[in-house]
Subunit: 409 residues, 2 copies
């Protein structure tokens, strides 16, 4: 049995609903996508519920499911995966928070939950907070994009069952975190101590002195939310016996990949935004398949159009994705099984993720070709893959790649 | 509600992948099978994942699932079901091993792991080993086909968590079994004591004296592997309230049937091989349906062609299966629900089981006839049964047979 390699293409937020201005067709039904259709016509198609029918996934939970990890079991909040995304080496048992740099007034009330959406100096600010030890708990702190940052606590008997310090509104005071259970009081205490320390360390920090001089709001407080514990999960390599790489621009997907032990590859020109160079991503994936058994590529652009409610923009993105698939169509060898799918639908009419299933096409040697000839949400439903769950996708691809272990004799 | 009878036809290893020499069609897409197609055209179709999407099943685990038993819960190894297949009355808690009769030299090293694939005298050799008691553990030993045999240990606190005595290579000494946990040491000890006893009892056994005289290798050792504990499971009759029979040539399927309390019927001419008389099997099934509520028939031949990689041979087997279905088409009354499916795919390109789903057709009075008109891996996918799991098949058939209990009021 020749083992094949696997390329998993995740078109973020690809799925959609009928759009009035497109004659009640979805963007994918409307766009001209000859290459996507070619993969569908020469492969097997179906619908995928990233988590389960009707379940409205986050990008984090759906990527976990697509990588074969049950989000019901391993996901307790976005914090740990975002922390991994900004480069903190999170470990099982670590409790992580999503952080906003914020501006508080002298009376302690929040003037700006995002500190003027500051863009510069955040790495220096983070450095002033990183590496503390509070009550024998190690503190890791790293800046993310703009006002966002990650906080990780590492120590004994920590719990994610604590309330946010972020009141989620301006004019309110920073909240004292509370343990939701007796065991969690210690974690809340450490978070509160850290918050007090952070205010002192940030308020007179040279970056903030500079901001004040420039008439900008100082980033003199941290607001914590979304606590989660990093689960004790085996890496992709350990679990599935494959060398795995991820190509993604957005931090949360990079974080998921990194926290599952995948190598996250940087691609010049790939940004995680609308301006991303999709063909560069495809080329990087083809290269990576020489080194890795499994390569996952996330293309964020359709999701952005969905969130912004821009149907015509989504059409354009789909046609760029089609060009990317044209590159792959010409470049991939017969030793690769390719799956084209999405992490969730982001209908432009909704401007949010929905629980609608996403299209799935699987292409490669050994795949039973069915009668579906176009890649869209409706056409694929009559394909031979039927309707699968995200958690089932990797086993299906393993089997086609001749990598599945036999259960029984 | 008139209760109907159920005939479950399991075409072993039926499913396949596109085959180059068949113009990238599967054998089932290529073969002329008017009777199989007739059942599909006049019934409801779908795809079946015997265990789950992408899961590569063994014959044992898949038959358990098709009979409604979750292999994740009841299967710990092939040993117990093979022991049941050779006629040992296994009971819950029994630990069973797969055995090879082997030849060891005087220095204790293995010369031949299969003792010249001996065919005769094995029943006598087995008799010399059966019925021992070692440290209050009862020993059951029965010969299988050729050099194969089964060993069952019955007693208190036994565990299947022991290593093989079979080193799986020639020239190596027989291994001492080790307990993988403290609890399992006792079982390993009994197995080691039995192995020493077996060598003494076999070495000078008249059967082996005769073999030596004839220049053949003596079967003077037993090698144990594949320990498993027989699970505490209710019989098919107890669980489903049906009198059940199985018709199968291969030992492991007979063992599964027997261990679930089904009557295993012998059919003259049915061999479990390529030379089996399929029409005789069909006739026996029709007969059995007068006595039993549920009859399962395993036809091994397509699996054999798959393992041997013989596409044209598989075509011929499919056409013989079609003749068998012609017999059933003419013989079955309206009081029977028939399901046509497989335990797994055995693609000729792979020569091994794969995780690809298998075709399913269900025929009988009350079945909602869908638009599918041919019975093959791709055509059935658009049928009204959708994509089911093996564990769901029996409930679906019960419901159609008007045998399902209502859940709720």
């Amino acid at each position: 049995m020749e083992k094949k390699r696997i390329l998993l293409l995740i078109f973020d937020g690809l799925g959609d609903r009928p759009v009035k201005e497109l004659g009640n067709k979805t963007p994918l039904q409307t766009a001209s996508t000859p290459n996507l259709d070619w993969f569908a016509a020469n492969g097997a198609c179906g619908l995928l519920d990233p988590i389960g029918p009707g379940i409205r996934p986050g990008s984090d939970t759906s990527h976990l499911a697509l990588f074969g990890y049950d989000p019901e079991k391993v996901y307790s909040g976005r914090g740990p995966f975002e922390a991994a995304g900004v480069g903190i080496d999170v470990r099982p048992g670590d409790v992580a928070f999503r952080i906003n740099f914020a501006t508080v007034d002298q009376d302690g009330k929040i003037r700006d939950r995002r500190a003027g959406r500051l863009k510069e100096g955040t790495a220096e600010l983070a450095k002033a907070l990183d590496g503390q030890v509070i009550d024998r708990v190690q503190v890791f702190f790293r800046a993310g994009t703009e006002h966002r940052a990650s906080l990780v606590l590492r120590g004994k008997d920590l719990s994610p069952e604590v309330t946010d310090t972020d009141p989620h509104e301006e004019g309110a005071p920073v909240l004292e975190s509370q343990g939701k259970s007796p065991l969690a009081r210690h974690t809340a205490h450490v978070l509160n101590e850290f918050t007090r320390f952070a205010h002192k360390a940030l308020d007179l920090h040279p970056v903030n002195e500079g901001r004040r001089r420039a008439g900008l709001r100082p980033a003199n407080m941290v607001l914590a939310r979304g606590a989660g514990v990093f689960p004790a999960i085996p890496s992709m390599e350990k679990r599935w016996g494959m060398r795995c790489a991820g190509i993604a621009g957005v931090a949360i997907v990079r974080g998921i990949c990194r926290s599952l032990g995948m190598d996250v590859l940087d691609v010049p020109g790939a940004t995680g935004g609308l301006d991303t160079d999709m063909v560069a991503k495809a080329a990087a994936a083809v290269n990576a398949l020489r080194e890795y058994d499994f390569v996952a590529v996330n293309v964020k652009a359709p999701d952005i159009c969905g969130h912004d409610g821009l149907a015509l923009e989504k059409l354009k993105v789909l046609e760029r994705i089609d060009a990317m698939m044209g590159h792959l169509r010409a470049s991939l060898g017969p030793d690769t099984i390719v799956a084209l799918t999405a992490d969730h639908s982001t209908p432009v009419s909704l401007k949010e993720h929905s629980g609608d299933p996403v299209p799935l096409a699987v292409f490669g040697e050994g795949v039973r070709v069915d009668a579906v000839t176009t890649y869209d949400e409706v056409a694929v439903a009559s394909g031979s893959l039927g309707r699968l769950r995200g958690m089932d996708l990797l086993p299906v691809l393993f089997s086609l790649a001749n990598r599945a272990e036999k259960f029984g004799a």
